[in-house]
């Protein structure tokens, strides 16, 4: 393959910043993080009234680098650069957009690979499990620090959509519009099952060392690679895999062995390798657990999402994609139904796409037109 050309982003070079927090954060598990860092990026300008702020919540493998480039030589811009920037559906000429790496992450916010000041060693297995609720609480502290009392909108896809829901429940007065995309109010058994297979791949890797592989100078690369390969299958649709790879053979004929033969094998291995080189296995474990744990109905004896969403007063745009079977349209409709039960302003669109769960990251014209139209009506 020829070397990829440097990417272009209308935002140009962006520089992440780190916020340090000294006030202890009590986590849902009961554990306490005495101090922590959150790395974040911003795009656009916060207006004088601080009323044009948008928070973008990332999904399982995402981070704070939502848009723009870190260096002119970057091969890829931030993960939602097609949606966010000057003149884009989320227009940074009008809005001040914040991307933040969640606690437990591996891109600059405090996480398992960070040094625990108490021991001088990496946290490793000592890093507490953080939940969607904890992320939202920590994001609220970042908003406090930036002087943002209320977000014009909070936006997220997949696990990011769960954070959007949690914001609307935990801080209803601090968010005016919620965009929950390709998301779900809680995972199904099938979804948890996929996550557990991914975790088992990591946990059973001999290089894992109970999560303290940093001290052993090893890395559970094989486990993380397998976890990502499995995940990747579930993010694509059968259709798109079929049309992209089919049964195409790399060498054109069977080799009667276990090396790469089918194109799909080559693709998955490449994706697994790429991910294993850039992500921390403990973070992957933690993020999948946060996904599994999230359930806003947990504290409602009637186990009813409508009751759980009762505090939410924001207007909602809920979007799903027809071929997404990991976060299927039915799951988005559960969110819609709960909002309808509470007589909230909500619009729901089901986008025809062949791209499965990954569709939320793709620049589909109708999908982007909807977000643009919705955002143009957001009053700042």
């Amino acid at each position: 393959m020829p070397p990829a050309a440097p990417a272009i982003s209308s935002l140009g070079i962006v520089v992440p910043r780190t916020a340090h927090f000294d006030a202890p954060l009590t986590l849902k598990s009961g554990a306490i993080l005495p101090a922590y860092d959150l790395i974040y990026e911003t795009y656009g300008t916060l207006n004088a009234g601080k009323s044009n702020a948008i928070l973008v919540c990332h999904a399982l493998s995402g981070n704070h680098h939502v848009a723009g480039l870190h260096t002119a030589a970057d091969k890829n811009p931030g993960w939602w650069d097609n949606l966010i920037g000057p003149g884009k559906p989320i227009d940074t000429e009008r809005f001040f957009v914040i991307g933040v790496n969640n606690l437990g992450g591996c891109h600059g916010s405090t996480g398992p690979a960070s040094i625990d000041p108490a021991t001088g060693q990496a946290y490793g297995s000592n890093f507490p499990l953080v939940t969607v609720e904890d992320w939202v609480d920590s994001q609220a502290r970042l908003a406090d620090m930036l002087g943002i009392s209320s977000f014009a909108a909070i936006i997220g896809g997949s696990l990011g959509g769960m954070q959007v829901l949690q914001w609307s429940i935990a801080y209803p007065e601090r968010v005016r519009h919620c965009l929950a995309i390709a998301s779900a109010p809680k995972l199904t058994a099938q979804n948890i099952a996929f996550n557990d297979v991914a975790r088992q791949a990591i946990l059973s890797d001999p290089d894992f060392h109970g999560g303290n592989y940093y001290a052993h100078n090893t890395y559970p690369r094989r486990g993380l690679r397998l976890a990502r390969m499995l995940g990747h299958i579930t993010y694509l649709s059968d259709d798109v895999m079929g049309s992209k790879f089919g049964r195409i053979l790399r060498a054109g004929a069977f080799n009667y062995g276990y090396d790469v033969e089918f194109e799909i094998e080559s693709y998955l291995r490449y994706q697994g390798d790429k991910f294993a080189d850039s992500f921390d296995a403990n973070t992957y474990l933690l993020m999948t657990k946060a996904l599994d744990y999230f359930d806003p109905t947990q504290h409602h004896p009637e186990l009813n999402l409508s009751a759980a969403l009762q505090p939410a007063v924001a207007d909602f745009l809920v979007i799903s994609f027809t071929t997404d079977w990991r976060f299927a349209p039915e799951r988005s409709r559960e969110i819609v139904q709960a909002l309808l039960d509470n007589e909230r302003n909500v619009s729901y669109a089901e986008i025809a796409s062949k791209h499965g769960h990954d569709a939320f990251l793709m620049p589909d014209p109708h999908y982007h037109a909807l977000i643009r139209a919705y955002m143009e009506r957001v009053i700042i």
Binding site: Q337, L340, E343, V346, S347, Y348, A349, H366, L370, R377
Partner: protein
């Protein structure tokens, strides 16, 4: 603005909660909100219409009406509107029942197939094409065209009580021989007493 919108707006009480099935661009809901301060939602299947609703600032739920209204709880709307969509619905009885499950009253408008110009075209040996039925037989979305008599007979069968009926031709109200001289019928109905 479409001729039936004015009639519908006249009927709907201020601050009512309205569900508009097959809401198109959301123009009716916007009009009702502006004139009657109503709240509510539109239901629409077509992508372009869903986008137009969002542009109009109208709450829209993308859904196929033929699959029912499962997201909407019973007795949660004052009015459920089906304007110029009834004739394109396959499950006609089911949608009328659903309207009165989720709403107190239903409002339906449809092109009256009994209108004399339609009958005349049939007599001449062609399918009717008119301002209210603007399709050729081979490209029409309409599957269940009916006359006013037909609709009222179905209402009787489903124990639906008609509360009010307005008939129009070219935007003007018609009072005599309505099933013959009216091109557009507008009904307000509820559960039969």
């Amino acid at each position: 603005m479409r001729h039936d919108f004015q009639t519908i707006a006249d009927w709907i009480e201020p601050n009512a909660k309205v569900l508009d099935l097959g809401c198109g661009d959301g123009d009716l809901l916007k009009h009702l909100h502006d004139r009657r301060q109503t709240r509510g939602y539109g239901v629409e299947l077509d992508d372009r219409h869903v986008l137009a609703c969002v542009k109009n600032g109208v709450n829209v739920i993308q859904r196929d009406l033929e699959a029912g209204l499962a997201e909407f709880a019973a007795a949660t709307f004052d009015y459920v509107v089906l304007s110029q969509t009834l004739q394109a619905v396959h499950h006609t009885e089911a949608i009328l029942r659903e309207m009165l499950r989720v709403g107190r009253e239903g409002i339906v408008t449809f092109p009256n197939f009994g209108y004399w110009k339609n009958r005349w075209q049939v007599l001449q040996g062609t399918m009717p094409v008119s301002a209210d039925i603007p399709y050729q037989w081979y490209d029409t979305p309409n599957v269940h065209l009916c006359t006013m008599h037909d609709f009222e007979a179905l209402c009787a069968k489903l124990h639906i009580g008609i509360r009010e009926r307005i008939v129009m031709t070219a935007g003007k109200r018609i009072h005599f021989l309505q099933n013959l001289t009216g091109s557009l019928a507008v009904y307000r109905f509820g559960h039969a007493a």
